[in-house]
């Protein structure tokens, strides 16, 4: 059950990344690029989650997970602020 949910998290965020970058390639709308970058790091974040809970339960991945989530958020925030100018 847990493994299914974690893997689904990875796959859906990967699909978001793929579709967002695909849309960016077609439209050249810059915000889509930053959204794609955000979800690319978010996919990494979900990968860390799987490693943390299932693959290496003895190693604490929490700092890596939190920092990757922060990086993902900051990427999109930068894009949103930069695009508004």
């Amino acid at each position: 059950m847990a493994v299914t949910i974690y893997i689904l998290c990875i796959l859906t965020s990967l699909a978001c990344t793929w579709l967002l970058f695909g849309s960016y390639r077609r439209t050249r709308y810059r915000l889509l690029f930053w959204s794609g970058a955000c979800f690319a790091v978010m996919t990494l974040n979900n990968l860390f989650l799987l490693l943390d809970k299932i693959v290496f339960p003895s190693i604490d991945f929490l700092p890596a997970r939190l920092i990757s989530a922060l990086v993902a958020t900051l990427l999109l925030l930068y894009g949103l602020i930069y695009e508004k100018e």
Partner: protein
């Protein structure tokens, strides 16, 4: 330190939701509304998990919430791409 970062992620997500909400208000494009909703859910999820066990989230069921947030993004993009009648603002 973990709590500080979790708080920053939470605020960042809610801030992103507000940006998208403004884009939605300006353009009336539902695409932005789905994005706003997704990041709002993500932000609240971060807040909830930080309050309960410092971001460690004991139950995998928490992550169904995250799946919902990602699903909204997927739906937003698919809805944008499948019927091609509206132009992006």
């Amino acid at each position: 330190m973990n709590d500080v970062i979790a708080g920053a992620v939470c605020m960042g997500s809610l801030l992103i939701a507000l940006f998208f909400l403004r884009f939605w208000r300006d353009s009336r494009d539902r695409f932005f509304l789905y994005f706003a909703l997704s990041f709002f859910i993500e932000g609240l999820h971060r807040l909830y998990s930080a309050l309960h066990d410092a971001g460690g989230e004991d139950s995998p069921l928490h992550y169904l919430i995250r799946l919902l947030a990602y699903g909204l993004i997927l739906w937003a993009i698919l809805e944008k791409n499948l019927p091609r009648e509206r132009d992006r603002k």
